[in-house]
Amino acid sequence: MKKFELSKLLSIIMLVVLILLGSQLSDSFLSVRNFSNIIQYSVETALISIGMALVLIIGGIDLSVGSVLAFSTVVSAKLALAGVNTAVILIVTIVIGFTVGAINGLLITKTKVEAFMATLGTMMVMRACTFLFTGGGPLTGSIKTSFQQIIKGKFLNVQYGIFYVIIMFVLAGIILSRTRFGRHVYAVGGGEETAKLFGVQVDKVKIAVYIISGILAALAGMIIAARIGIGEPRSGYGYEMIAITVCVVGGVSMTGGKGTVTGTFIGLMVISIIKNLMNLMNIDTNAQPIVNGIIILIVALIISREMLGKRKSLVKQI
């Protein structure tokens, strides 16, 4: 491309280092099968992280994704149990995501509520709705229909999940870097008022981004319902934090305007590989949050150093 960008290279280097390290730490790590497992199980996180990346790039945050996921899981499980056609379930799922996303977007743009608080509110409301919908526990009965094929199915002996991840990232990459909408997303995050003066329809872009985030979260919920075959209302706890971590590790700035889809993908891989490695090496469950935290801290520090280094300025940064 244009200029040599160390930060982009840096995250790739980190990924490579992690993979090399993994191959040393565990014999079973470096195999096609294992990597297909890693990607296969990161479908839901991938969907949510892409949505979160867009939201972070416009300078917002979406804490409601985990709850939206849970709600769509139980709803699609209920429909699947009732034998509803997969296409209909898909539509219902999209409608759920769209609605919550639109509510988030409207709250943030029209009532000027901070994104954190607005989505914290919808997070609680949607979680409550999920439990009210199932009456508490998981929906009884297992789904044994073609609905499960959406994640269990295989094409050329490769599981659909891997295609989903690839398609989602390519699509998101094209949208973000090549379309007018993508540029406007960056513009809104980089300077909202300026973007407005330049004719960017800031509110529409914001609402659209929250809707995308909502829909992706809802789709992730549908996939979970298909994957485990039940409607589990406890799904998705803490997913918002995982998605934010993925984005931050991938170099998406929480202050908006910065971040790429490639970065998000690398972030996703880093986080998924850490999780995979901890299982493979049978690291004590109790110690896992510590290992996780320290790795994320190191990565975040490296990324932040890198970004600071590029900013040449006369005045000392406070």
């Binding site: 607005a118 509110g121 008022e193 934090m241 949050p289 320290i294």
Partner: protein, 345 residues
């Protein structure tokens, strides 16, 4: 003459009312709920219940006041729930192995100090987002608690003097309530009467300007995280003193939910996550409103999920209302590089 002398007193009054508009309306709302509560439950106003309510509220209230400092300077602290856990664990471990109440409290306060210092230093010198830093420290502290306890609860002989902190009364008030009032008094004076408070406030409003006018911004920032962690420590000690034993809880719910409750309380009380707004009273009242509702709902028999739903709606509506209240008539345009300009012409 731009200003008449006789406007001086009026000005002081307006200054006061304007400063505490949010707080006044929350207080009014709490009073209102209390007044209509007999219609909903005869039990709510009973003496015991109100004291219980205050005690239940005090843990959140102290944490919310701590959170207020961090939010004031435009930060956030997601690690207070984990801090409360660590503090609780260490307290019980020390007490059951024979250390005195005083030694234990001194130790956990030091631990709180260190946690705050780490958060503050990572945010200030590490140039990291407070959200990321405190999420990481939370994760690490959760891990430490699990590794140390293996997930099991810790109990044993705890000195009577320690348990009293959580269970005794001073006059008619439970000790935690009294401690909440003392903490409130100190933080209130800190914010309204000291230069430190003023510097915190303006630093939240504009970090660069504060630096340029002679504030040690880094120190202020770190101190806010320390204050937050210290108050979380107090909240942790009070919680564990009431129980006299420690139970790890690192997943959702439990003490881990405390950070979100504290943030919600502070914001309902008028603080803004972008910094430079809000007051200690606001955080206190926000927590009280929260406490009143979560006490009242089970009394009138609201289902637990419905309670959560209502809490979510309350947060949204309260924040909308706070936003409406404070956004002045002026239309502000944010400039690309962070400043803002009004419609000056």
């Amino acid at each position: 003459m731009a200003l008449q002398k006789n406007t001086f007193i009026k000005d002081k009054l307006i200054l006061g009312i304007k400063e505490y508009m949010n707080e006044l309306s929350i207080a009014a709302l709490i009073v209102l709920i209390t007044c209509i509560s007999p219609l909903l439950s005869s039990v709510f106003l009973a003496g015991d219940n109100l004291l219980n309510l205050l005690r239940q509220t005090s843990y959140t209230a102290i944490a919310a006041m701590g959170m207020y400092f961090v939010i004031l300077i435009g930060g956030i602290d997601l690690s207070i729930g984990a801090t409360i856990q660590v503090v609780g664990m260490v307290s019980i471990m020390m007490l059951t192995s024979g250390y005195s109440t005083v030694t234990t409290i001194v130790c956990v306060v030091l631990i709180g100090l260190v946690i705050g210092l780490v958060n503050g230093v990572l945010v200030t010198f590490g140039k990291l987002q407070p959200f990321v830093v405190t999420l990481v420290t939370k994760s690490i502290m959760d891990g430490i608690v699990l590794v140390t306890t293996d997930g099991a609860s810790i109990s044993g002989k705890v000195p009577e003097s320690f348990v009293k902190i959580g269970t005794e009364y001073i006059g008619i008030f439970p000790v935690p309530v009294v401690i909440t009032m003392i903490v409130f008094g100190i933080t209130f004076i800190l914010m309204s009467r000291t230069t430190y408070g003023r510097r915190l406030f303006v630093t939240g409003s504009n970090k660069v300007a504060s630096y340029n006018s002679g504030t040690n911004v880094r120190l202020i920032q770190i101190s806010a995280y320390i204050l937050c962690a210290l108050l979380a420590t107090i909240s942790g000690v009070l919680t564990v003193a009431r129980i006299g034993a420690f139970q790890p809880s690192t997943t959702h719910g439990g003490a881990t939910g405390m950070e979100l409750n504290a943030i919600a309380a502070a914001v309902i009380g008028g603080a803004s996550l972008s910094g430079g707004k809000g007051s200690v009273i606001g955080a206190l009242f926000g927590a009280l409103l929260y406490g009143v509702l979560s006490n009242l709902f089970p009394l009138i028999g609201v289902n637990s999920y419905l309670q959560q739903l209502i809490q979510g709606v309350i947060i949204i509506v309260a924040v909308i209302a706070a936003g409406r209240n404070s956004s002045s008539s002026k239309i502000k345009l944010r400039k690309s590089n962070g400043g803002s300009h009004e419609y000056s012409t």
